[in-house]
Symmetry: C3
Subunit: 343 residues, 3 copies
């Protein structure tokens, strides 16, 4: 038993330490094909090498959310194996596209800890960085989770709560090197709407829905080498239901958002996100978006939209929280991100 990984507990995290996550991963056209099989992914920049070249990139990158999953998956054995809840994300920035052939590894720096008043658990904040084989950072984000203590009598660490930006500013975003939307082909991309056609406050119902299956979410979650047992083993929870990886819901909602946001090609920033309610096999995921902000960038023809992306199971579109300020039961995800779109 001593040889297996029990995961870290709250008292195992020290502010300032860097955790080197295991199992680097080389991606290929196989990961891209699987992403298209598991999600209704249609953003042209991630579907066609030719389209990507016409936008100044050397080839079609791996979907940005897939890159997130690869980086995130490596952190699970060290960060969230004993997590009671995944509480939030902040300051996520995609710094370099990931291409087939790239090898990704991850590290996390502990940037905050706060023991809960019950003495049984605490909140851990980490800044995770994914790097490619040239040690270039491809993705950088903060997340925090509530983690169990191993020893209830362990002393509480000094509380350190990091200062987090409520949202990235447009100047924080990194546009992929070479990206140029001046000759963007709206017909091939699938919709005519450009940056100027979206107004702050505008809401879009993405209409389509997908009823999810056990085999699909397990394949997706394994592909990213996420090992949290609640996703795979019916015996790991009293209700004998497999809890679907929150990232599966993110990918499903983001790809469903093609219908109305086909030109919001590049995910450049993650301002925040809440997994409001669990998702189980048999649920039908739908999505709606709200334009929260707009900004220009210095890259040719490239604008930015700050978007709220909400994933639901049932319920009316555009409903989010009840009068008590809590998420409604049919809301599974409330994500806040920046996307790059032709101006």
């Amino acid at each position: 038993m001593a040889k297996t990984n029990p995961g870290r507990f709250f008292e195992d995290y020290t502010v300032g330490e860097t955790i080197y996550h295991a199992v680097p991963r080389t991606v290929s056209g196989g990961e891209r094909a699987l992403y298209h099989a598991l999600y209704p992914a249609r953003h042209a920049l991630y579907s066609s090498d030719e389209f990507a070249r016409s936008c100044g990139l050397p080839a079609s990158p791996l979907d940005d959310i897939a890159a997130f999953h690869v980086v995130f998956g490596k952190t699970v054995p060290d960060i969230s194996l004993n997590a009671l809840a995944n509480l939030g994300y902040a300051e996520g920035r995609w710094l370099k596209p990931v291409y087939p052939g790239d090898t990704i590894h991850s590290t996390s720096e502990v940037i905050g800890v706060k023991q809960n008043s019950n003495g049984k658990s605490g909140v851990v904040w980490v800044r995770t960085r994914g790097r490619n084989q040239r040690d270039e950072v491809v993705l950088d984000y903060i997340r925090w989770a509530m983690v169990r203590k191993r020893d209830m009598n362990a002393a509480a660490p000094e509380t350190v709560i990091p200062t987090l930006k409520p949202a990235l500013g447009a100047s924080d975003l990194v546009v992929p090197e070479g990206l140029d939307f001046t000759n963007y082909d709206f017909t091939l991309a699938g919709e005519p709407h450009r940056w100027g056609d979206y107004a702050i406050g505008e809401k879009i119902d993405h209409v389509d829905g997908v009823t999810v299956e056990e085999a699909e979410h397990m394949m997706a979650t394994r592909l990213w080498q996420n090992t949290a047992k609640v996703h795979f083993d019916v015996g790991s929870r009293p209700d004998e239901q497999r809890l679907i990886y929150g990232g599966h819901v993110i990918s499903m909602a983001r790809t469903l958002s093609f219908n109305g946001l086909a030109n919001a090609q590049v995910v450049a920033g993650l301002n925040g996100g809440t997994h409001a309610n669990p998702c189980y096999a048999g649920d039908t995921i739908k999505a709606w978006s709200e334009v929260l902000d707009k900004a220009e960038t210095t890259a040719p023809g490239v604008g930015a939209l700050r978007l709220r992306l909400v994933a639901t199971k049932g319920g009316e579109p555009f409903t989010l929280k009840g009068e008590d300020g809590k998420y409604l039961p049919h809301v599974m995800l409330d994500l806040d991100y920046w996307a790059l779109i032709p101006r």
Copy 2:
């Protein structure tokens, strides 16, 4: 809501116009591997680069039916999102193999329209062409579908019914450049039967069956970026059943036909096809074939068989229609195609 694609309705089609379909797609070894995971695909030319080279091709192409799916999938948002029925195919010709690394896009020319007598819908005929990154046509076929009208009061267009060949002649078929079956290895291919061993009228029961699952047909359908919601969302139909994409049944039947037609390697022509009855998860697909015609080609060692391919769920092999001339309820697919086989 105005930003999402409601699809085209019957009155939106004008004979002579060309529709440029969105979302070009680059295929890789990932699509090939998934095709082998989703279907019992064993035709050697599409499984082994070495075998393909021994037959004069530069490498193993993507399965011809998979190439069809890629081209077809792009047309769905423009052609069949509001379709009531997919009525038929004609004059389908595979003109160039699709290889890993190729990027495919599709266009459709409207070649016929006929409003139904009920005034609520009409039939639209389109000629769809899939092209690669060199703008070479890889596949060319006609299909027609019954499409809803948006406005029941819209005037009926002038009826144009295209003249369709009931079947391609052998001289219409395009043999892939370089294909040479003179040194064909029947042992590696899996069966000894060559062109001369098949007789017109001969029927073959392919014996094997596959019970289909929701996760599989959805993964397949998404892989081809087919977005028709009836395949994915249990809420999209009153019976709360997901209707399986007809192309999934085609691929399953064609790959099952390996057992008895292992050497009918290349799909070169599509004469016609009927999706006679729906397929649902839990159905067990079996297949039988009938040799409809035989022809020689000018390529070295290459003959052609015209085959009927029938997919069933239950029922006796070789049964097709009842005394009333209608398809029996267990018949799901009646496909008429040309395959290339060593002479």
Copy 3:
């Protein structure tokens, strides 16, 4: 009917003959990605090209068990289509890694036959070899199966029972050319335990479990072009359950064994294996291992562990057989193999 493959029956095997199996297969990054989607595969040498290079290999190979499946799958139509039981394996040796781009084909030499006393079936022993496009043997193993007779009156062949090694010695193992663990990165690999940290007799509970689904095992089994109908067609067995391919259980158990054996990177030898009880969709697979032997190799930094790998559904870890010497009902697999691990 005469064109389909009925499979071979017991009386069709002659000691000394070589069977050339059909359908060579080129593998790519697609197969690697699917292996990671279907199993919780995390051994770093098979996940990262960079890690593989740091260990002296040119790139990350296809997982050794996946290579086994590719070789094995080709033999099914000739060896086990009419098998009543897959009885055992012996003397399996991985001789060359399989890389993306390689094309694999298989042959089997009949090395033993023994008719059963009931006269209705017999045991066939074959030595199967998988070869790449350079005709290099990549894998070599013996298996035996109980096969039905076609004609109960066929005369019994002369009994030939091959002499099999109960286990390979360490000197029988072939270390992949260039493999060098002297600069092995234990942090990236995920665990600190090296060869010297494992003791003969030590048992490891791998803790994690996976509840298996129909879609997953069928996709896996098809990917290896294994055509045995019991895996796919609910109508092929009286209980209308699809029997899961034993190799699916092997891959699941081996990948689950990462947790405790993360550094047992390379599968180099297969000493034996028993599929003790069937696996069905809905079963939750867990695994435990026992260190059976240890050996050094002449390769730099490379040691070998002989491991028992047991896959279970329910039951207590480390339980294997009852007082009657028979496998307990929750034991599905008892595999005996050699793995290479840093010293």
